[in-house]
Amino acid sequence: MKPTRIRGRIWVLTGPDGQMYNDVDTDMIFHNRHLHITNLAEMGQHALGNLKGWEDFAQKCRPGDIILAGANFGAGSSRQQAVDCFRALGIAALIAESFGAIYKRNAINSGFPILTLPGLSQMAGEFKSGDELEVDFETGRLGLNGEREYQAEPFSRVQMDIYQAGDLFAYGKTLET
């Protein structure tokens, strides 16, 4: 069984004005000039490479870190690399106010933990990059620095089934009789 409760250092995706970025599209996450890359290990270095102020994210982050993002994260194209680049870096979870529909589907299918926290961008001031966040996938409970609590939407059964199996295809194999 994979862990359903994790703890990690957070990165809050804010812009030059200090506000959380909304509508971060897949070109900002993984620019189309890198779309020829199919090897997962090579994708990490380009993560957020086209988002102003975050071009050096791949150098700054560590495996186990958690990203907090605003509304409609992952809008735009269907490219799987926009999810895979974070998996390549070992990012443990991505929490956003909301996700683009295709991005959400891709993330769930690849077993990458994402959670929706309604109203997150309004509360952005309460989170600082470097804070420690505890995340419970089963209950959606978030604990900030062991002090404050927030309620995100918990994993659905679908999400947990696929996450535990590894990815959508691996889950398909568990159904074989």
Partner: protein, 414 residues
Amino acid sequence: MPGQTVIEKIIQAHSDEEAAPGRIVWMELDVRTARDFAGANVVQNYRTHYGNSPVADASKTFFTFDCVVPAKTIPYASNQHLCRLWAREQGIRVYDVDAGIGSHVAIEEGLAYPGCTFVGTDSHLNILGAIGAFGQGMGDQDIAFAFKTGKTWFEVPPTMQVVIKGELHPPCTARDLTLAVLRELGSSGALGKAVEFTGPAIEALDLAGRITLASQITEMGGIIGFVPPSKEVLAFCRERAGREVSGVYADPDAEYCQVVEVDISNLEPLVACPPSPANVRPVRELAGTRIDSVFLGSCTNGRFEDFVAVAEVVKGEHIAPWVTASVVPATRQVYARLLREGVLETLFEAGFIVSNPGCGGCASGQIGMTGQGEVQVSTSNRNFPGKQGAGETYLASPLTAAWAALRGEIVVPG
């Protein structure tokens, strides 16, 4: 428990989880398909992950080739043949390059029926909302998984209701009604939502008109648009499916996230101008615009009734000398009826090119693309830059397109 909308009921009947809006649930699939676009990727994904193991149920799995038919390049031909060979190994039926548009074949062959769940690689598969079925286009990985397991997951969308006030009167057609809804909702008015249509004009639509309306939900950003099946539609589906079918209807106390009224009592013929299907204006305002070509067909207006409407206008006449015009019936069955009833002859004599069934101009130009500076009137579903070629495409009803072909310019029909 509050009442349920159509999509909530259909998903609920195919899931053991609560199908409430916003919830992500596993859903059993009655039918899973792939077309020639993405079909080879589905096979490749399947082989990579599941080797030579059999699909969940070959009798519920189909290929429908409709995009590049017959294949005009070797890569397309090779991709189609890869699917054919794999289908033979698996015992999967292929509706091949002669069959026509997959979503229409599904309705005609009774593969789809009211209340069923149906997925494939066609982004307009939600057209099955025309018979009250849940159709949905998905990517090649999701479809490979569906082939293997017979299920998929889906986030139950909220439902909005669109109430059509008033009735349709000639020269307005189902396409003009559809354009009126597009004008009201815009390109994102139904974003992420299921739509349910209601009103006397909706009830009066024949199957062809229902298909036209349902085919444009994608252009409003919607997941699917349901037209409650009429007695005639139920009888048709019963006969085609060879089994008892019943419609799925919303509960009277179903909860809608939004109700929108569209009044068509004073409707006039409409046209969607470049560069998007939601850029709708009255035909009247475009009258006099000189045109170069006309396309009739696609999953939006490729039915028998659509071509009959055109034939009635052009019978005994000839299209303008500077215009080229093409006809692509949606399916082999539509083609056969047009042939037997003399409609193709009328269109041919009037100067139309008649092509074999398929997706027509939408998928890499089965019947040619527009060139730089070319102005086209088309009954297809999208006019984004580049979609039908390098020219400018105006989307309109078969009637408006027929008159444009005759006069060589956009004119108000009738």
